[in-house]
């Protein structure tokens, strides 16, 4: 065979083989296992049951070593007051660390707002925490990969690698991230990962006196939380951002932001 023919044939063979090979997909065993793990953590909040006592916030701060008086928190409770004229006022004083002890609505610089009882059409509380998104923008924007998503869906932060640029804080549409006052790195709710991976409930779930908060495994059909999410009408926050949040709400109002 001449050298020219050899090269020609080789080229034809390689391009032909290349086209057919491209139909095959190289599978990483780890990726296959991770794509459908046995656990996908999800959270269920029943806003009808929340009374705004703030036990969850306190329990969370103690469990996760966030200074109680620091004005940041992994979880918080919001109060919504919808007036008969359609106006909506909201507050969350200190993230509801001490619960809602006053009828006055904390408007920060604008002071305390008093709403007369007869003006109120409806009022309710909404607990908030990290949504452990399926498509987390915070993970996408981290320049060093210090924040990452575990196979079970929980988004974690590596405190030893975070450079503290704050891009993840900017990228989160839910405002759940902040700088840890002591560690000086990005911090967020991680569903008490150290507890749930040992079969315990999160600190906030355990502290809630009315079972307004529940955590469960979406992959387990017998899990009560999974059953509610599958069989009842639940809502999520800000799905317009395409984040696919995994904190589900029963009784979510359109006024909740």
């Amino acid at each position: 065979m001449k050298r020219r023919d050899f090269l020609k044939n080789s080229l034809v063979f390689i391009s032909g083989a290349g086209v057919s090979m491209s139909a095959l997909e190289w599978l990483d065993p780890k990726a296959v296992l991770a794509s459908r793990p046995e656990v996908r953590w999800a959270f269920l909040v029943d806003t009808h049951k929340c009374v705004g006592c703030g036990f969850c916030v306190k329990a969370c701060k103690i469990e996760n070593d966030i200074p109680l008086q620091a004005n940041v928190t992994r979880t918080w409770v919001e109060r919504y007051v919808i007036k008969k004229d359609g106006d909506v006022v909201m507050d969350s004083p200190k993230g509801a660390l001490n619960g809602f002890t006053s009828n006055k609505i904390d408007q920060n610089k604008s002071g305390m707002l008093e709403v007369a009882d007869e003006e109120i059409a409806q009022a309710f509380f909404v607990p908030k925490l990290c949504n452990q998104c399926e498509n987390p923008p915070c993970v996408q924007v981290c320049p060093v990969g210090a924040t990452y998503q575990a196979a079970d869906g929980v988004v974690l932060v590596d405190r030893k690698w975070c450079i503290g640029c704050g891009y993840c804080i900017m990228g989160c549409p839910y405002g759940v991230r902040f700088f840890h006052p002591k560690e000086k790195v990005a911090e967020k709710c991680n569903f008490c990962y150290h507890r749930i991976t040992q079969g315990k409930k999160t600190a906030c779930v355990q502290a809630c006196p009315f079972s307004a908060r529940k955590i469960g495994n979406l992959r387990d059909p017998k899990d009560p939380v999974a059953q509610v999410i599958l069989n009842q009408r639940v809502g999520v926050l800000r799905d317009e951002y395409g984040t696919k949040p995994h904190v589900f709400y029963i009784g979510l109002n359109k006024e909740v932001r």
């Binding site: 200074p67 008086q69 620091a70 004005n71 940041v72 928190t73 918080w76 909506v88 006022v89 909201m90 507050d91 969350s92 200190k94 993230g95 408007q107 920060n108 610089k109 604008s110 908030k128 923008p137 993970v139 996408q140 924007v141 981290c142 320049p143 060093v144 990969g145 210090a146 690698w161 975070c162 450079i163 503290g164 640029c165 704050g166 891009y167 804080i169 900017m170 990228g171 989160c172 549409p173 839910y174 405002g175 759940v176 991230r177 902040f178 700088f179 006052p181 002591k182 000086k184 790195v185 317009e240 951002y241 395409g242 932001r257």
Partner: protein
Amino acid sequence: MVESLAQMVVHGEAWTVKDLFVLPNEYVYWSIQIVLYPYMTGLVAGAFVLSSLYHVFGVEKLKEIARFALVFSFALLPVAMMPLMLHLQQPQRGINVMMTPHFTSAISAFGIVFMTYACIVGAEIWFVYRQFIVESIQRLENKADRGSIDSLLLLIYKLISLGARDLSEEALHADHKAVKFLAGLGIPVACFLHGYAGFIFGSVKANALWMTPLMPVIFICSAVVSGIALCIISYAVFMEIRKWAAKRNKNFLLPDRLVGTTDLSADHLRSVQTHEVKMTSKYLLIFMTLAITLELLDIIFRGYTAVKSWDILRDVIYEHDFTKIFIMQYGIGNVLPFLLLLIPGLTTRRACVACVLVLFGVFMMRWNVVIGGQAFSLSFAGFMHYHLPIIPHDMETFKEGLGGSLLVLSAPFIIFYFINMIFPAFLEDKSH
């Protein structure tokens, strides 16, 4: 007790005032240093584009300012990184961006783009100055009584010459070709460096004010505007100092004597200065028109489409930040200098006044984007007001306050002073 008090103040709390309903963790996390970051990278990119106008497109009119712009761009380069380092909560880990770049993040490319750009600018300067470096070595070596500064300079020149001391016709021609190539390559890289600074903001989907695909383009245009304006002012000011020195037969402050170019006369300098400033101003006008058009298009489009976030954005743009956007940025920073530059019979002084206003306008634009983007809550029901810390009471309020920002703003001039001793920016040369 002190420790527990210190723990209570979280990052951002010192300068953020919340109004109405703001989520508990929301603060103005990106403060003055992040305003300065795109401002400084913009100046780098702009100065480089100005120098490339001569080197690539052969705009002869810009010959004298081109060399200055190149050296000044090099002096600005390390400063573009300073605000980021001053802003990081863990600055000692900044290098992690290079070690484990996470490529889905816009910031992760910073290290790579920045280093590429630094290499291009460094290489271009080397080729532009190679002849001068070799000549300086020869001159200093032949000098009989070398002082300590001369000896130091000789050592530096010997090191940076990298042993390439060929001054033949072909070698110089090759230099010239290399400069042209690097300047051409530098334009897209400079635009990328800055366009991606815009992408860092434009891609944050959680922020209603930032999220627009126009952001990178707006950033590039305003970058070129600010870079040219700064070059005009600095050029005029340094030329003024040279004129002042030439009249008195003095040469301190400037390295001309050190490098041996002493052919100076005040009249000659004045004519060069006026010519360069006038010519550069024309290019400034072109880029200004482009920048203003895009910025207005963005606002008009937001108002016209009026999606969910428009209610709060309207409050921020037309009420809370009205003075900062329409009076300081567009009025004083755009319209006024535009008119000043358009009125016939442009003098150096008027051009400089216009350029100072332009620089102020671009700074306000960065401010209104970065701080304005954090002026409203994610709840769309509350506002955050930013108060720049003036008198620092700890490291944080110094770094992210007036002190830190003045440090960043003054750094390029200090660096330029030293770089200029090695690569004289005002060297009049026939070959390039």
